[in-house]
């Protein structure tokens, strides 16, 4: 039944969320909950690994928009990595690369976090 799954792990003290499957209006609340719990426990350095993300709808994109401000205000960031071309296209259309750091590989994102704790781009 569940077409969407989130796994949380840590990579060099950075929180990595592995998204799997179909992220749409039905499954978006799950991701929201995960973000909320990270923020509630003061974990603001987040990488979302999209290797196994097969689809993302506009409601799914909205989740990232909802939390980025809170995260950056706390000197953290949400970075995205390992997107398939198709998923990247969806993020790209909406202009996500203008707001978020999207790296081909998780390791790149980790490196960027280590280089600077500050968000590289002023979103707001």
């Amino acid at each position: 039944m569940s077409t969407f799954k989130i796994e949380h792990r840590e990579n060099n003290a950075i929180n990595v969320l592995d998204l799997k499957g179909y992220l749409d209006a039905h499954t978006a609340p799950e991701l929201e909950k995960t973000f909320q719990s990270l923020i509630d426990t003061n974990r603001f350095r987040i990488i979302v690994n999209c290797r196994d993300l097969t689809y993302i709808s506009s409601a799914g994109l909205g989740v990232f928009m909802a939390y980025i401000e809170d995260v950056r205000r706390n000197q953290g960031d949400i970075k995205l990595s390992n997107m398939s071309p198709k998923v990247f296209n969806v993020f790209d259309l909406l202009g996500f690369p203008l707001l978020y750091e999207i790296t081909p590989d998780e390791a790149d994102a980790v490196k960027k976090f280590q280089e600077t704790g500050k968000p590289p781009k002023a979103g707001k």
Partner: protein, 721 residues
């Protein structure tokens, strides 16, 4: 048979019977004048009596078709008839001065008067006996079982046989066979006199009446029987003189009546103590049955709950009753989601009450965190509290003391969940017995079904109302989209938009900004349904008010972003693509705010036009406007621009692939030489084919623009809507 014919036949039977009775009287008179006995006349007398009574019986059977009458009424009829006839017999007896002389085992009339009296006695008593026998038959046959009819037939056969065997003998001649035959009749009477099961079904009042009636009937038939047998009684003498067979018939019937009504009296006497319980059971069954019927009739929740409490009073003769239900789970879960509160905060509400006020109810249930509720919620069974003041669970109810001394608390359990609780109280202690609890439980089951039913219906009505609202919204939203296509010589425009649900978040519009600028906008609000539709409507308003102020699409998008920023929540955004075509020069400016790229077809083939830009609602004002760029295209004759929403490219059948950009681009390339309408229809057809039988799950919009201007002066003519 027609009623008239049957009426005639009845009259004929009655007249024939009367004639035969009369003939018998005449023969009696003739016989008394003769000195010797004439065998032929004796046979004639027997035949006349038999004929008269048989025709009378046939007449009565035809007239007396009252099988549905109730037993007590039948007894009443027998009683009145017997009383009247008894009194008449007594009067006749007192005024008659002459009797009979018993000689040679026969009765000889002492005078003409004796013959008249004997005939009168015979007709009146014989007719009465016939009526009484038929009455007893009907009483026995009510609530009959298989053997009832057989037993009564046995009696009839034995009885008729005992009458028949007297034929060869003289009126007062005793004979062993006759005696034996009558003994058998007595057995047959006893056999039938135990058929009294109908008594059980009478109400207490009816039982009392039946007991009185049967007592009087028994009291009358014993002396009547005594009077109708033996040689010394004048009546017996008269009847025997008239016809020994008739006398046997009357004696047998009288004995039957005395025995049967005697048994009835004894039986009703024994049934009287249980009569009340039986009555109550009857009312209970009736109440349950009534409620069952109500289930199908009362849909209004308040009407139903009021009825339920009223019937609770009836079912167990309670002093007061009330019903509380747990409020809808959906309502709570919504509240929970909103407040982020914890689960299980369902509230309990008293929805109907009888003979008690809400303060008293709160005093009983509200105290001590609803200890009573917990008891039934855990046990899921009816709980009876025999002594309210002494019971641990209800000690606090002393405040309402005097009024409530015993209680029954019954949970309404549906799908393993307690959806409500029914309360009943009585003023006396130990007011509810085990049976009450059982009946209330059965009753509660019915109530549960009825309540669920009523809620379902309410829900479906609510759904219907919402459906109507949505259809109205759909109609209104349709009107927000352009009603007519602009008719501009230089440009062909075709558009199509279909929401996946009743309303959607896709938006498109076109308008002449001035004499030479045509604006074409396509947008998609994130999410679907009502919230998306509301933003879509807002977008329409923004386009109407701001589009004419800007000749640059990127400027307009920045303004739209500013205007919308305050009204949108952070996770919502609108993707837009906006093109402004100068119809005079053929220059098209395109800006994009996170929307699907435009497909442009020209002599050089197709390409995606994808200037950068964030979705509207994303990022701060300054940041947003910095991201928006503008592409400029010079249109040539036959160039095509296709705008669309992701409903096209992301159309995906069950377990299939998305429609995709490549396919869309291919179709535009293939059909590009056709009209704007052709191109639009080719795209729609391809998407439909791709989806197969699956309904689309996203709103879908296509706008096709085809440039049809060579080097000449433009002329503009837009149909306003």
């Amino acid at each position: 048979m027609t009623p008239r014919k049957s009426g005639l036949k009845k009259l004929l039977l009655l007249s024939l019977s009367a004639v035969l009775f009369l003939a018998k009287f005449v023969v009696d008179v003739i016989v008394s004048k003769l000195d010797i006995e004439v065998g032929f006349l004796s046979i004639l007398q027997v035949l006349l009596v038999a004929g008269a009574f048989i025709t009378l019986y046939l007449y009565i059977e035809r007239v007396w078709r009252a099988g549905d009458q109730n037993v007590v009424k039948k007894m009443g009829f027998a009683l009145i008839l017997t009383l009247v006839v008894g009194v008449a017999g007594l009067i006749l007896y007192t005024i008659s001065t002459t009797g009979f002389e018993i000689k040679n085992e026969a009765a000889l009339p002492e005078g003409f008067e004796s013959i008249v009296f004997a005939n009168l006695y015979a007709v009146v008593f014989g007719t009465t006996a016939l009526f009484v026998l038929l009455t007893i038959r009907d009483i026995i046959m009510s609530k009959r079982r298989k053997e009832t009819k057989r037993n009564f037939r046995i009696f009839l056969v034995v009885f008729l046989a005992s009458i028949a065997v007297t034929l060869p003998y003289r009126p007062f001649e005793s004979n062993i066979i006759v005696t034996l035959a009558f003994t058998l009749v007595i057995f047959a009477i006893l056999l039938n006199s135990f058929r009294l099961s109908w008594i059980v079904y009478l109400t207490k009042r009816e039982k009392l009446i039946a007991m009185t009636f049967s007592f009087i009937l028994f009291g009358m038939y014993v002396p009547i029987y005594v009077a109708s047998v033996g040689e010394t009684s004048l009546i017996a003498q008269s009847l025997t003189y008239y016809s020994r067979q008739l006398e046997t018939f009357i004696a047998g019937t009288t004995l039957f009546a005395a025995t049967y009504f005697g048994m009835t009296f004894v039986s009703t006497l024994f049934h009287l103590p249980t009569a009340e319980a039986f009555d109550r059971k009857n009312i209970e069954v009736l109440s349950l049955h009534n409620l069952g019927k109500l289930i199908t009739r009362v849909f209004d929740f308040h009407e139903l709950t009021d009825l339920v409490t009223r019937m609770t009073l009836e079912v167990c003769e309670a002093a007061s009753a009330w019903l509380e239900v747990r409020e809808g789970e959906e309502a709570t879960s919504i509240a929970r989601a909103r407040t982020g509160g914890n689960a299980g905060a369902a509230t309990v509400r008293t929805v109907a009450l009888q003979n008690i006020n809400i303060q008293d109810i709160e005093a009983i249930t509200g105290h001590d965190g609803g200890a009573i509720r917990r008891v039934v919620r855990e046990s899921r069974k009816a709980v009876v509290i025999d002594q309210v003041a002494a019971d641990d669970r209800t000690k606090h109810v002393k405040t309402v003391a005097g009024k409530i001394n015993s209680m029954a608390i019954v949970p309404l359990v549906s799908h393993d969940e307690v959806i409500g609780i029914l309360y009943a109280t009585k003023t006396m202690e130990f007011g509810f017995d085990g049976e009450d609890a059982d009946v209330l439980s059965a009753f509660a089951d019915q109530v549960t079904i009825a309540l669920e039913n009523s809620r379902l219906i309410e829900k479906s009505l609510e759904r219907e109302r919402l459906m109507r609202e949505m259809l109205l919204a759909q109609e209104m939203q349709r009107k927000l989209l352009p009603q007519e296509l602009p008719s501009i010589e230089e440009v062909q425009i075709e558009a199509l938009s279909t929401p996946a649900f009743e309303v959607g978040g896709d938006y498109y519009d076109f308008t002449m900004l001035d004499d030479e600028h045509l604006g074409v906008i396509v947008g998609d609000v994130s999410g679907k349904g009502v919230s998306a539709a509301l933003f879509m409507a807002e977008m329409k308003g923004i386009f109407l008010s701001l589009s004419r102020l800007h000749r640059s699409p990127s400027e307009f998008l920045a303004e739209a972003h500013s205007a919308l920023l305050g009204t949108m929540d952070r996770r919502t955004f609108i993707s837009l693509i906006y093109a402004i075509v100068n119809v005079r020069t053929g220059v098209m400016k395109v800006a994009r705010a996170g929307h699907c790229p435009m497909i442009f077809l020209s002599g050089n083939g197709t390409r995606f036009v994808k200037p950068t830009g964030l979705g509207v609602g994303m990022g701060s004002r300054e940041f947003f406007s910095r991201t928006i760029t503008e592409d400029e295209i010079s249109l040539s004759y036959g160039d095509v621009a296709v705008f669309y929403t992701d409903g096209v490219t992301e159309a995906r059948p069950e377990n299939g692939e998305e429609f995709g950009y490549a396919k869309l681009e291919g179709i535009v390339a293939e059909s590009g030489s056709g009209s704007a309408l052709d191109i639009r229809d080719q795209i729609v057809l391809a998407v439909d084919t791709h989806m197969g039988h699956k309904a689309p799950d996203d709103d879908l919009t296509i706008v096709v623009l085809k440039w049809l201007k060579r080097q000449s002066h433009p002329s503009v003519n837009l149909h306003h809507h």
